[in-house]
Symmetry: C2
Subunit: 251 residues, 2 copies
Amino acid sequence: MPDVSGTGPEESFLAAYNPADHPPFAVTADLALLAVERGELFVLTRRRASHPFEGRLGLPSGFLGETESAGEAAERIAREKTGLGTSVAVEQLKTYTAPDRDPRMRVVSVAHVGIAATMNARLPKVVADGQTQWTRCADLKGAEMAFDHAEILEDAIERIASRMEFTLVAARFLPEAFTLSQIRMVYAAVWGVDLDPGNFQRKILASGTLEETGERYLASGGRGAPAKVYRPRVTGDPLRPAFLSPPLRRA
Amino acid sequence: MPDVSGTGPEESFLAAYNPADHPPFAVTADLALLAVERGELFVLTRRRASHPFEGRLGLPSGFLGETESAGEAAERIAREKTGLGTSVAVEQLKTYTAPDRDPRMRVVSVAHVGIAATMNARLPKVVADGQTQWTRCADLKGAEMAFDHAEILEDAIERIASRMEFTLVAARFLPEAFTLSQIRMVYAAVWGVDLDPGNFQRKILASGTLEETGERYLASGGRGAPAKVYRPRVTGDPLRPAFLSPPLRRA
DNA sequence: TAAATAGTGTCTCTCAGACAATATCTT
DNA sequence: AAGATATTGTCTGAGAGACACTATTTA
């Protein structure tokens, strides 16, 4: 009969735990920061300058500080790599723990997804370190990335794509106010489909998550009628996007 | 201008990383193992025998082995604590990283959800260590649990509840073959709602994920007509439950 | 026979998607 | 005026939920 003392394996382990006795785990936060420009989806990447995977593209990443949660670390990384302010909202995605995912040592990575708002139809500025850049997600399909970052990116896009069915997260890709064709292009970019402008408009307005600003704006740049400008209807928490009811389902 | 060398913070960190120099992170896999008996949802718990949270209920948990992924560790824990065979399928849920979640040291917990199949309408056997037991989830609502395990449990139930809308995961709570009222009671237990028997039957059969075995079985124990027995229609991967099309949406 | 469960049928309402039609604006 | 975009309207079919009704079996 095991455990006669009534003390389980993890309790006795921790009671006797001596840090120096065990090979440590390193814990990082990785970040897939997404943005949309001209109907195309981009992700923030860093080209690796050293071993391992030298020369390949990877996602920004960093170790957790001693008093920092993984989410806080991911937000810090987003701030450090972009010209965005303090308000980069990131969401935890999944944790990658394969023992050999980093050839140097055991590294557990808590991956996050974030969305960067496009202002004036331009991708946000990134630090000029010669490594950090926005990369078209379409160009990364099937491409070799560092570590398991290709898998993380794929999971990240799928997470946001599915969140967009039920919430207004898509608005995070845009400035505070935007036209319906702008947000429709965000949906189209992330889902990789074309959307009927009429049906899209009827559905997203029916969800009651948007309100008119009273202004009009010619988002298309060229011809056509200027469209009404909308903003998300404020719900209690500005970080949590409004809930779409009925949802905007993918096909 | 930072990083003139072109070497980013994480690369230089890892290159210079010396395990003994840094306070290590411990990484555990926690498991919320769910089961349904007589229309009620249960979770596998362990009553803590020592500090911290002595006397409180917690979820089974264990450290990752050196060559073990978090998912493998969670499956190992499920096997060790129950009389179930090797085929306990678990899914990663979320990682909990608050710096003070364990008062003794920095512990990052990769939480998992699992489902245990109820055979002969009885919960699976658990190891007789005097600590491990099945606990009614309804009794844990608002109860004090060890660490952040109450939050993990809540997230776990929500995850399974939402998976059940689009897949046949509900069948994992049951033996290989079952009646429609049995699987309806799984839905009712996890979702916490009553379901119209007629509508449920029409919808789940329309999804095309079940096939008749040709047998009949009186699941209710007492009166009533014996119901047809069904089994999941096999799709390629036996671990991945069939996809419900159209889905069975919650209200 | 009464009661409980299994299974089917019907009706209504909502919503999705296809697509036509009109309005508005720039070149 | 021509062309592009914005916006509204119409039609059809699928599905959800409410609920009535029949069939089958045991107490």
